[in-house]
Amino acid sequence: MEGFPLLSTSMLAPLIGSFIILFLREEISKWVASITSGFVFLLSLLSLFFFDFSKAYKVQFEEKYTLIPELNLSLHMGLDGLSYVMYLLTTLVSLSAILWSTRDHQIGHRLKEYYIWFLLTETFLIGVFASLDLMVFYVFYELTLVPMFFVIGIWGYKLRMYSAYKFFIYIFVSSLFLLLGIVSLASVHYKQFGKFSFNYFDLLKNTYPLEFEVFMFLLFLIAFAVKTPIVPFHTWLPDAHGEAPTAGSVVLAAILLKMGTYALLRFNISLFPEASVFLMPLMVLWGIFTIVFASWFTISQSNVKRFVAYSSVSHMGFVVTGMFLLNTEGLKASITEMFAHGLTSSALFMMAGFIYNRLHSFNMQALRGSIRFMPVFAVFVAITGFSSMGLPGGSSFWGKFLTIVGAREYTLLLAFLVIVGAFFSAVYVLYLLKTLYLDTKEEGRLIHFTDIRGFKLLAFFLMVLPMFMVGFLPFLFFAFYDPYIKNLLEQIASKVGG
């Protein structure tokens, strides 16, 4: 695969797919979309053989097309250990979401548009994770908004338009601060090196006084704190996730939230190491605060989709906490948790959508005990639930466990705080599982339930299988980003210590 343009191929394929859909009959569109995303997924799997794990800190599959030489603006893409994991997650979840949509009752009209928007989302998401040029990153970051806006607004549930507005406005306005930050960095580069540049590696060379660095850190943070989200900025999320169609929620929770945490790690920590070290206590405590509060919010939800949405916020708290511990365990926990949460939250949203198709309700009371009539589905949901809770062997276990270990390296108290957070996040999953399994269904309301099968089973299975892999074979995943983390920590040490 030497010299093969992996990234452009996997970005162009969905574009071509959506172009083909434009000219075909409505009923065929779902198959074109499935085949296209399947192709991209296989391509990403295939690329595993060509990824050099020993040099995972280095950018591989690199491609560069200059856009404006004067401003050093180029379509510069490549994957290192961190972005590679995100790339795999994107192709996997996109495939799974599209497969799910083919059998979703909610997606009954305007199929062409739906699948075009979905394929475009896949292109943009790969662009987000692969770009090494900050302006290009921003372009893709913004572009993901447009398809999701339409997916929520057209195919969503009752409050769809309101939620779509809220989603778009929150993220668009916050990301304008990011734009200001990016162009400021380019200006600073001009003042220090005599030329503008948006290239990630060029901007790494910039040096700033601490106040200015903190200011830049905050500009970036505003955007990513809303996107991630961290607690006071999370209010768009339950609406957007709660009202989106199932596949939309899946992509939102599994990948769009990761854009925030990915960017925090990739840009905030790497570009502003001094500010990160300076603000570390604040960020860690903020992360723990997010975990605890989001867990409480979660337990009080009566709508199962909003329940899952809030649980995502709590998981993101773990990611932020782990990341800003700025040590090996913390970073490892953070990246593992990003991947793991992508799987569990997708599966939980699929669960909610699946039950809705049976019961036509998202109400927790209506759901009581319903799952017992679908044995296969019940097993899958149980696995997902325990994974999400952080039971050993479950995918989230490593995220939570390593965060605690990382916190222990500082003080015992900090580790204790994380444990408190982990406790609350276990509580809400147990509450969910109890409602689904142990509560009894009222007499006379028994409806005939068909168990999960076909494409939905496949889509669900695509989520559950990697969950096992993360849980039982975590070293497979650590291999991606161990070198990256080592490299990152060395960079931080050299900049801050020097």
Binding site: E70, M135, V139, F168, I169, L180
Partner: protein, 483 residues
Amino acid sequence: MEQLIKLELPSLSLIIPELVVLLTGFILFTLDLVYKRLNHALAITVSLIGYLIALLFLFLNWGLKGETFYGLYHRDGFSSLMQAFMILLTMLTLGFTHAYYKQRRSTYGEFYYILNFALVSGMFLVSSYNLLALYVALEAVSISFYILTALLRSDFNSKEGAFKYLMLGGLSIALASYGAGFMYLYSGSLDLRYILTHVAENQYFLVLGLVLFLVGFAIKIGAVPFHFWLPDAYQGAPTPITAYMASVGKLAFFAPIVRLMPYVQEHFAYAWVTTVGIISAVTMLYGNLTALVQKDVKRLLAYSSIAHSGYILAGIAVAKVIGLKAVIYFLLAYALMGFGGFMVLALLERVPNWENRLEQFSGLRFSVPWLSLSFMVILLALLGIPPTVGFVGKALVFMALSFEGLWWLAFIMIIATGISTGYYLRITALMFMKEPNHTFDLSISGGERALLLLITFGIVLLGAVPIILWNFVSLSAENLFVR
């Protein structure tokens, strides 16, 4: 100053494009005289041929630079770029107007040569440093616009808009000429470059003159608090003319202010940044806030045009090369987007009982899918979603502001853009997410369809591959700074 004494033959080679356009105007005028009922196809063909030839001359002598008529006329990269865009936009306008006027039974032969006259005077306005020449060109553009606004003779709104425009336009020209007088008093010259670099005793005359002069232009570009005519004139004018005013008019009226930027001297740089910055901040906030509550989409786009004047002024506040580049790019970008936005409305107005009301846009996708898609792209471009020209313009303005360290203005621009999300998004959402009240058929001719597609495609292409326009913009901006 010596130029005034030396006798020179005007070098006509510099103004060939203008001469060609002017000649076209005379031919159109004669045609209108000769034929009792002007054949519109003929008039359009003649205009298009004339403009194409002018454009051809412009491109053949792209690098041409120089002054003629004793410094009254100045050609450089900036003026060539602006003129090329103005001619292109005029040609695009011609593609939409005939069907519009025909439906309103308001087809007049005057239209063609007045449009032509507006273009010629606009072309002069973007290529002069001389107060006298600027004054004449400004007056000529304005008069053409008054007539064009009023040209829908059966329509009351059209006349009302034209009258308001005339009153405030007259005021603006009076102010500008008064300011010019003070500047002459200060320096003894009519050349802006000389005036601004001249050092004399009475700085007050310069400040007073410059302020009055700028206020005159601020009225023309619709900067708050001098904007009151703009929504009425834009709403009252025939919609293709609104598009024309929002694109060619904006380019022409902004050009003299842009030409001032390299001559902002150290000693009044602070005053410049503060004044222009505050006007820009007020303009974008006011424009966007007012647009948010509009029920009429044409009026909404007029307010959005005011807001965009604010964004461009923010770039002008940064009197550096990077600011100049941002301003020129944004100007061209807005010309394209504003033009497209109003032209979509012009096409929609063909639907019976169409009043541009916001709720009429609900479910538009089900009646005219391609038109709504174009409109969506244009609206998102106005909002500044990548990869569109609007985004590139906005990013460049942000870059200029951060370069200069004008953080407060940058934050206000973020807030203003945030406010604008509300109304651009509402129209988009209405078009695509609501079920329609009733569907209708709209017959758009192949030519109009192609032109609209071209504009939409241009908006995306110039944003996705900005290098196409960037080199021209960058070069012309740098040339302006070379004294």
